[in-house]
Structure formats: C-alpha cells, structure tokens
Amino acid sequence: MLHQDDAQSRYDRFLETYLSGELKLVNAGLPRARKCLADLLEEGQPSVLCSDGTHQMLKRAELHYLESILDDDERRSLMLPMLIEMTGSGNDAIVLCPTGAELKVVAEVLGMEPRQEEHGRVRVYRPQLSVLRRKLKTTTQYAFSARALQ
C-alpha cells in the first residue's frame, strides 16, 4: 500500500512539475525588462533580455515601421515587445496597451479602431491576431497567464 501511495504522489508531482514546466516554457520569451522604441532605435543591434536569460532580437524594419506611425513622445512611451495575453478561449487574445501608443499601433496595423475591454486592455480576435503577428513578428510577444487558466 505504501508503494502504491508513493507511486501516486510521484504521479501528482509529475503533473505539477509538467504544468509549471509548460508555463515556464511558453513564457520563456517574455522580456525581463522592456525597452522603449526611442532607445531601441539608437541601439546597434536592438534586442531585449528574456526571462530565460537569452536575448530576443528585434528587427530594424519593424522598428522603423513603428517609428513611422508614432510621434516623438509616443516613441518614448511605447515599450517593446508589446505583450499579447492569451485568454484561454483560443478564439481571442488581449493586447496590453498601458499607453495610447500601443493602441495607436494596434489600430494602425489592423486598420480599424480595436475593441477596448477596459482601460489598457484591447481584445483582438484570431484573424486580427494573425495580422498583428504577421506585421510585428519580433516586436510582439505572447504571454500565458495563470489567471486565464482558472
């Protein structure tokens, strides 16, 4: 009986480890500290440090595209990479827009005024997400939150 108990708790531990491992894995690309667009444009090779200790390269072409959309103040307030929070439904996601610069970028890329859930959170649907990711491959990043899994 003791042997069976031990095996079962080992199984639970495995599932627990797997869950936390999956969360760590999917969020490995999240930035440890984000940088503003103005600073990134001045860097020789723009990159941000990720949570797993690696550097994520940001493409110059994307940065110049963002530069063309925003004015000077917005370039200083836009923090990159922009975070896209997965809701867990699989059909939509939330783009975190703490400042107006992110909102302007999303509106420009999608070509329409996006639906704002609450302040700083913009809901985008799957086809819109696809467009956003195609245009901003390195300057956006997915974030999986434990809240979405509840």
Binding site: D12, Y18, L19, L25, V26, Q45, Q56, R133, R134
Partner: protein
C-alpha cells in the same frame, strides 16, 4: 472506452483523483492554447514561405538579367575589374525569437550605411546600379526565405510533439480519471445503500424482538 485505474476505493483516493483531474484539465488548457497558437503561426509561416520563395526566384531572375545586361554593355572584364574593388563581406544580424516557447531564428541583412555602392559611379552606367540593386534585393529575399523555412520546420516539429501530448491528455488520461472517479462515486453510493438496508434490517429485527 476509458480504462478504470487500479486504485483503492477510499474517500481520500476520490479526493486525490478529483485534484488530479483538475490539474490535468489545466495542463490540457495550456497545451491546447499553445497548440492553437503554434498552428496559427505555422499556417502564417507556410503562406509567407510560399510568397517568399516566389519572391526569391523572381529577384534572382531579375538580378541575373540585370547583371547580364550590365556585363554586355561594359564588357565582362571591365565590369569584373570595377566590382572586385568594391567587394565587401555581407553581414547578417541573427538572433532567436520565441513563439510560445519555440525558439525560431530571426535573420536580417545589415544594410551598408550612407548608401555608398563602392564602385566608381563616373565610369559605370546606370545598368551596374540596377544590377547592384537587384542583387541586393535577391540577397534580402534569400535571407528572408531561409528564416521562414527554418521557422516552418521548427514549428512543425513542435506542433507534432504538442499534438501527441494533447491527444494523450484528451483521449487517455482525462477520460481514465473521469471513469475512475465515476466508478468510485458509484461504489460509495452502493456502499451507502447497503448500509441503509442493513440498518433497516437491524431496526426491523430489534422491533420484532421488542
């Protein structure tokens, strides 16, 4: 039909199984979300790869055509002499980018600053400029194609792995846990009914004695 696990029919075991089912469902949710993102990225990359491949072929065609015209106008030896002097190494900025836990390559051609071509502009025609421009475009297209194709391979491999995990959870682990929980619940209900019947019988016997 889901297989019932070999567990002791105790309440503590039922609680443990319910907890395990909740945990498994959460894992499944993450894995499914991840799979949907990876599939979306894969399809997008596949579409982009087709476009990039066509673009690379067109760009190479144009570059060869422009180079042929330029060498026909200036003469092969003269053109080679002019171009040898401006030979420069190509630098490509390379780094990883992460898509839902998959590390994909990110490549970008470093453009020379100032827009200098390196050859003598007074002794060459606009045909050489055109050949230079189209060659650079071809190079850019090849780099883009390389990035997309490698990304496609990596995403495909990860989708396969994730799909296996999702299937294992969806068709084996979770149904098996649910079946075991149902089995234990029914067992306890049956035990309760037996207990009630026994008590009634005892009560009836006691009533008969009294």
């Amino acid at each position: 039909m889901a297989q019932i696990m070999k567990v002791r029919p105790t309440k503590i075991e039922l609680v443990r199984l319910k907890r395990r089912l909740k945990l498994s469902s959460r894992v499944q949710k993450i894995v499914k979300d991840r799979l949907s993102i990876l599939t979306m990225e894969f399809l997008q990359t596949a579409r982009d790869t087709v476009k990039a491949k066509q673009h690379a072929i067109d760009a190479m065609n144009q570059a060869y055509k422009a180079m042929t015209v330029a060498s026909g106008y200036h003469g092969y030896v003269a053109l080679q002499k002019e171009l040898v002097a401006c030979e420069a190494d190509i630098t490509v900025a390379a780094g990883p980018r992460s898509v839902a836990g998959v590390r994909l390559p990110s490549l970008e051609l470093n453009e020379p600053s100032g827009g200098l071509r390196g050859y003598n502009l007074t002794q060459t025609s606009s045909l050489v400029d055109s050949a230079s421009d189209t060659s650079r475009e071809a190079l850019r297209a090849i780099i883009e194609l390389a990035e997309l194709q490698r990304g496609l391979e990596l995403l495909g491999a990860e989708i396969n792995r994730t799909k296996r995990i999702t299937n294992a959870l969806e068709y084996i682990l979770i149904p098996s846990l649910q079946a075991t929980i149902r089995f234990l619940a029914m067992k306890f209900e049956e035990r309760d009914r037996e207990e009630k019947a026994r008590l009634k019988r005892v009560k009836a016997l006691l009533a008969a004695k009294a």
